[in-house]
Amino acid sequence: MRILLNGDARDIQPDTTVKALLDSLGLDFRVVAVEVNRAIVKRDRYAATAIPEGAEVEVVAFVGGGHACRKLTS
């Protein structure tokens, strides 16, 4: 099934959990935050949260920055 991960289409197995997705991406849980369909998924819920088909998933982390930047042109 297809989801939108950080804005890009990606195919994953049905019933994939947030934990399984992060594992497959090789991401360190301690430095990221995850949204599924605009709702934050807490770290202790990663293993229990299955990603629904068509979900918009955002995985974010801290990057260098001080102040505002221009709008994203997407």
């Binding site: 950080n6 991406l25 505002a68």
Partner: protein, 260 residues
Amino acid sequence: MIDALTIAGRTFSSRLVVGTGKYPSHEVMQAAHLASGTEMVTVAVRRVDLSAVGQASLLSWIDRSKIFLLPNTAGCYTADDAVRTARLAQEAGLSNWIKLEVIGDERTLFPDNEALLVATRELVREGFVVLPYTNDDPIACRKLEDAGAAAVMPLGAPIGSGLGIQNPNNLLIIKEQARIPVIVDAGVGTASDAAVAMELGADAVLMNTAIAGAGDPVAMAEAMKHAVIAGRLAFKAGRIARKRYAAASSPVEGLIARGR
């Protein structure tokens, strides 16, 4: 701790807050942070680059036992985006502090104060410690304080402009009326600008480009450290009044040219 800065119950001995963007390298950033003596740095929140997984996280270059992380909502142009970003930052950083930015215009990067106020109210309601980046406008600062902001962060000049403190009189008024810390955020170009902000009574100064973009960021970081300390000391010491004409600093009595 002498003359410490306290924001929402957390105490800092350094009054210099530094950014983490635009450095030539992570090594230089780390060295600049050390040279600046900062105890608080601000970080942005962005999508993870899934093509570059495995690269060291920015956080591995920040000693969190000495430096407090202040996530920001840089790049947000609506209250909704800023609130959403703040929630993600809280989840990623396990802290409820947020440097709140809601930008109103791409050319000036000036804040959208109306949206900023909306986002401040919402995040305060959700229990965040909100530090909004705002104009050097005493009314906007007062409204943000009334909305529950933990500090206000008026700009000295446009972000990245390096123009220095453009409206010292407004900063004086903001500081005079504020019951929360006032942190001058943006516009500093060189050490004297930071000193001016502190001499006006600012509780702290936040800068990114002035250090990261300097010819030698580490040396500039050290200069900023001294400037903030000097400006603070001068403010506390109380400067002399300005006069139009000279006022001698040596006594008239005993001059050899007087009377015989």
